[in-house]
Every structure is written in structure tokens, then in C-alpha cells.
Point group: C2
Chain length 256, copies 2
DNA sequence: CGCAATATTGACCACTCTCAATGAGGGTGG
DNA sequence: CCACCCTCATTGAGAGTGGTCAATATTGCG
């Protein structure tokens, strides 16, 4: 993929930079038409951290905002811890996805993020990014878009939680993963879940048991094959239908 | 209210500008330390539309993004229409609040917004705002913050829908309204709901009947007084407790 | 190898939805 | 100005989805 620029370079440090550039390419730069020189300035502020392991935190609720994070490989969950030890899972982040945008408001994270499996994560010091975006209008634009997209995604999720049944939620969840894997070049039909049933349930507003039962039911209905964390989607189309709750539309509100 | 500055001026156009400046003051500028000259440039791109009436749309799902909107007086709901005529209410917007941020991603609104009662709305052409933010770093920063805040709010809502009971949702909803009225200088204890029970239920992921029953129960328990759209909160503290679900914390996920 | 965490399955129950009927406002037209 | 209608809100009765509790695999890590 984005290797062309780096073909002549050899050093590992350079590779790291390039690796990160791939990262930033997909999630920050690709649709944005940066000049090579601007791209370079962006690349220079992106840092690659050492590999992180299951359970490591990128940040915790209340931490001062230092960096935004991009998943390079692996996966991350973000969640809002509650006083009593419970938590609400807010999202799962796959390669190429950006984490930490909700911390800009008051320069303080208001959720936690921890990695679900051994992962490589790029860090972007937000202050630098902000400065840079001041002098690169198309970067600024891209930042607006990324923030806006996060809002749209959350709104989708609101609809899912507000209106959809357990079955619809799990189907939508699996399809979302599928689409995101596909976009990054992985198989959309065959993948591993890095999160537990508990975390899936928490994310979808369901009990673990419900998630488990749905998996078995989906399997019985030949929608998918599941063994522990290994998922194979057998019938995307039928899953689509399931996720879209064709039935039940009493939510029509009479237009005034 | 903010008439002082305009006292000597006579023209209605000037009044409009001042009115809008109040608007932008509270929601865009206040916490942001703009120079007077910059403030002026911002003010010049903000337009005040004629008063809108119940049922008027600010924009519809799919419209090209032209403007962001700030509620000056009145209230607005934003909602995601579904194919079959149903909808998911995404939010209610009170004076001082900004609408349309989820449209930046692809320059196209992906929800609709319509006013709930006669309202005055300021419009900010997004292109102009974006240009301006390029040359005023603190405006850019404020934009980032506003976008980020929207994300945080949506995440709160996700937790509410994912974890909380009907009772907790309605309590939280009322407290949210209360706090927002208070911030704008209205009574936090005594206000009118501009949205129907149906819309409240839709927003909170509940059936109308459930909302209605909760209102009567809350009233029986002397938490509030409700008559149609008129709400008087009698016991904020107890409402707070209700909204915070102290019980039931099996969502603890064993830390790894 | 063994304990602890995770997942599955079953039985039961409750919260909230659905369906249905009634009541209360608000607007319109006679 | 009142009658009528339409929407909105309230209330009741019944049903169902999904949660809770509990017992039993299964896995994975120390």
C-alpha cells in the first residue's frame, strides 16, 4: 500500500515512521489531499509507542489529554467507569481508528481506554496536532470531519440502543465489525473477537446470557458459525435484514 | 436583556446583530478569549433568520450542509428518520445550543431538525466559519471543543440508554433540562416542556405510556408537579439519586 | 495441573411494551 | 360561542423480551 514513498529508505526508525504514516494515511490523510510537505510535518508529530498488551491503558477517565491515539494493529475498548466499579463500554476500536476525541472539550479524558490484545498504537500529541492544523487548512478540515464522524457514529448507536431488539443489536454489531475489517483489508466473513461476551453485552446494553443465547441461535439458523472468539459469517444478507428491524414501526410521530 | 450595547442604535439590523452576538457569546465565544476585532468578524458571518414556527425544518436528513444553527429562543429537536416513517429523536436543543455538527463529515446532514415551538435561530454558514477558524486559532480551538463536547454528550446518552431503567432515564432527562435552563438564566425548577410525551419516550427509548406513568408516579412521590407540559421540580436531590442507579452493579468487568 | 475467569444453558420473573379504552385540550368551522 | 374533531395524555390489563439467578462446561493462565 502506501509504501512507495518509503521504498528507498531502509532504517528501522524510518520504517516505524512509515508504519505510522500508513496509519495516519488511512485515518487522517487519505481523503484529504495534503501536500507531501504537509504530510511530512504531520508525520513528524506522530509517535509510535512500544507494543501494548492486554489490559494496558492508553488513558484513564480523568487523565489530562496528552495524545490522541490511532490503532495500528490490535484492538482497544473505550469505556466509562462508574463510581461503583461498573462500566459502560463506549466502543471498540480496530486498526485505523482514532481514539480520544471526547477529551478535547475540557482537556481531560472522560472515559478510559484499554487494549484488548497485544496492540501497536500511534500517539499524536494533541497540542502539536492542533497547532499544525492551524497552519494546514485541509488538516483542520479533516479534524472537523473526524470529530463529526464520531458524532454520527454515536448517534447511530443511540438509535440502535433506543429502538432495536437484542437480536437486531447483535446482528448490527457483527455487521459493523465485518465492514470495518473489510475496509482494512481483512476478511469480512471470518474474524476473531478480541472482546468478551460480557463486553459485547455491556456495549449493546444486553446481559451476557442474552448475547450467548443469540450466538447459539444465530448459529442454529445458519447465519454464522461461532466457536469461542472465532466468528464466521455465513449469510450477510440475512444478517442485514435482521439488523434492520423491518417490523414494528409505531414510532411514527404525526407531522405537525 | 442584552440591549445595553445597542441602546443608542436604532436600526433593526443593528438589533439583529446584537441579538446574534448574544447568541454566539454564550455558545461560541464566552469561554474563548476572542479579541474584540475577531469577535466582530465572527459576528459578521452569523445571520439571524426570521422566526420559525412549530414544525418548520432547519434542515432534513440528506440536505447539503449549508449552516450550523444556534437556538436563540425556543427549542428544536433533531431526529433520524427511518425509511418506514418512524424516527429516533437524537436530541432537544435549547437556547444557546448548537445544531448540525454531525453534518460536517460528508457535507450532508444525516439527521433532520425541526423546531418545536416558535423559535429564533441564528445561522452560521459553515464554510465561512471554517475559513474564519483558520485565521483565528482560538476559534478553531473552540470548534474542536464544541465538537468534542457533542461526542461526550452522546456518550453519556449511550450509557443512559444502555444501562438505566425507565425511571432513571426520565429522572436524568428532567435534570438535564433543569441544568440547561439554569445555565441560560431560566428557572431550574419550573419550566415548560416543548416536546410531547411521545417525543420524550422516543428520545429515551421508552414507550409513551411508560413516560406518562412515570410522570404520575413521580408526582405521587412528590418529586415534581406536572400538568400537561408544565413541570415543577420539587426535590432535585431525590431526583439526582433516582437518576444515578445506586443499585445493581453487576457490570463490573474483572480487570485483567 | 488446578483455580479463576469466561461461556453456555435452563428456569423463573419483572420491567416495560402492546393493545385498548377513556379523558382532556386546542383548533376550526358553523 | 359552542360543537366537533383530532391529537395528545392517562390509565388499565395482559403479554413478551430480556434480565436475574444458578448450575455446569470450557478455557486459559499461573
Amino acid at each position: 500500500m502506501g509504501k512507495k514513498l518509503a521504498d528507498r529508505k531502509v532504517l528501522s526508525f524510518e520504517n516505524i515512521k512509515i508504519a505510522c504514516k500508513n496509519c495516519s494515511l488511512v485515518s487522517l490523510c487519505l481523503p484529504m489531499g495534503l501536500e507531501p510537505e504537509e504530510m511530512d510535518r504531520l508525520d513528524r508529530i506522530i509517535k509510535r509507542s512500544r507494543p501494548l498488551h492486554r489490559g494496558d491503558h492508553l488513558f484513564r477517565d480523568g487523565d489530562a489529554l496528552q495524545c490522541l491515539y490511532i490503532v495500528k494493529t490490535g484492538s482497544v475498548k473505550s469505556y466509562a467507569p462508574s463510581e461503583e466499579g461498573g462500566e459502560q463500554v463506549l466502543g471498540f476500536h480496530l486498526p485505523g481508528e482514532l481514539i480520544g476525541l471526547d477529551a478535547i472539550e475540557n482537556s481531560r479524558h472522560n472515559c478510559s481506554a484499554k487494549v484488548l490484545e497485544t496492540s501497536a498504537i500511534c500517539e499524536i500529541p494533541f497540542t502539536n496536532l492542533e497547532e499544525l492544523s492551524t497552519s494546514i487548512p485541509s488538516l483542520q478540515h479533516q479534524m472537523y470531519r473526524l470529530l463529526s464522524r464520531e458524532i454520527s457514529q454515536d448517534e447511530n448507536m443511540l438509535t440502535l440502543l433506543g429502538k432495536n431488539s437484542a437480536e437486531e443489536r447483535l446482528a448490527a454489531f457483527l455487521l459493523s465489525l465485518s465492514a470495518r475489517f473489510k475496509r482494512r483489508g481483512f476478511s469480512p466473513y471470518d474474524f476473531y473477537l478480541s472482546m468478551s461476551r460480557h463486553e459485547i453485552g455491556n456495549y449493546l446494553g444486553l446481559a451476557v446470557e442474552t448475547v450467548s443465547r443469540l450466538f447459539t441461535r444465530f448459529q442454529e439458523e445458519r447465519l454464522l458459525e461461532v466457536e469461542r472468539k472465532h466468528i464466521q459469517l455465513l449469510d450477510l444478507e440475512r444478517l442485514e435484514n435482521l439488523s434492520k428491524r423491518s417490523h414494528n414501526d409505531k414510532d411514527r410521530i404525526h407531522s405537525t
